[in-house]
Symmetry: C3
Subunit: 154 residues, 3 copies
């Protein structure tokens, strides 16, 4: 007899963007303790839970290039913070406070991370530079996201 009809078409392939990692968190209690990771507990986004709200550290799960960004309200005292990667301060932001002149200090950078490496913000130098402020109508926010994952490693 004749051959049967062709089989059904195969399933579509997997969609892109398989690897996602992002967090956006705000300061909720102040002032932050100096020389230890700043703990941000107001959660704007942390679906993958790669930011640990108990330690204040973001942990890289997917090796790749990450973008980090922070905007800090400067009030009552100067602000000097550093972005740490693996126990080393890699970027510094300093903004001085003057009476009746609340300011905003910000930083952003692209960093390549290996799986397991951690990134966090910390008040730098002596403890007098922890003037990061936040309340119900003022924010200090720390965000990060995976921009390009290291495809070859998967």
């Amino acid at each position: 007899g004749f051959p049967g009809l062709p089989g059904k078409k195969g399933e579509p392939g997997e969609p892109a963007f398989r690897y996602r990692s992002a967090f956006s968190v705000g300061l909720a209690s102040r002032p932050p303790a100096p020389n230890v990771p700043i703990i941000f507990t107001k959660i704007f986004y942390n679906e993958q839970n790669h930011y640990d709200v108990t330690t204040g550290k973001f942990r890289c799960n997917f090796p790749g290039l990450y973008y980090f960004s922070y905007q800090l309200t400067v009030y009552l005292k100067d602000v000097k913070v550093s972005l740490f990667k693996k126990d080393k301060a890699v970027m510094f932001t300093f903004d001085q406070f003057k009476e009746q002149n609340v300011d905003q200090a910000s930083g952003s950078v692209l960093l390549h991370l290996q799986a397991g490496e951690e990134v966090w913000l910390q008040v730098y130098g002596d403890g007098e530079h922890n003037g990061l402020y936040a309340d119900n109508v003022n924010d200090s926010v720390f965000s990060g996201f995976l921009l390009y994952h290291d495809a070859d490693q998967f």
Copy 2:
């Protein structure tokens, strides 16, 4: 008879960034009216027209995770703005102005949006905090883009 030929191979998976949504707009007329969406009419990028220059609102067309960022020139008066999502202020930025001390205030955050949800900037609190400034050689800019789309919803 013999079985038919195997079916055709399935379609390739969805490519990366099939869904694009991004805008970057600047203040062109000032001062902005308080307690209504700030209208940015200087267009750096708005190819998809998801930012509505008549209402001042960005409208989510593709559910997913979005990054929003703004940098505001603080001149003549204090600046207090809030990023609204669906009629609720979700993030606040405050910067005080002092004579002969123009400042820059900035904010950024990651927010997950459902299709149809709108995001905009608005002067917050009393009307005296609308010191956002812009002219031919000074900018105040509001940007946003789709970072990860919700693949499962397509």
Copy 3:
């Protein structure tokens, strides 16, 4: 005869970010010369070498939509910078300095670029606005990355 077997599953979608272009660089020598591209030589990330540390210019290799961001420490003098695209200043950031009141000035924008187009930061106007500062524990950073590439052009 009977119908054939179903076809094979399709190939995975094109991986995210097949085309990659990103840089993040910091000021290392100061003050920057006015009215020429600012040279950032502290390298946070420049794997593709699309940012030229000898000219201070980022060169677009893949046409598409790019995000640019900078955070500048304002110290000793005022800061007025412009983001240039193809010999034209497209965005301006101004922050005044006051004694004992170090500030942070920032800017960010999305720009569509054609292959070969260059983007850089430059002190704008008279030469007195080059108060960008950086040292071992203070940074001024310029970053950029390809967000969406123009798929149809490949």
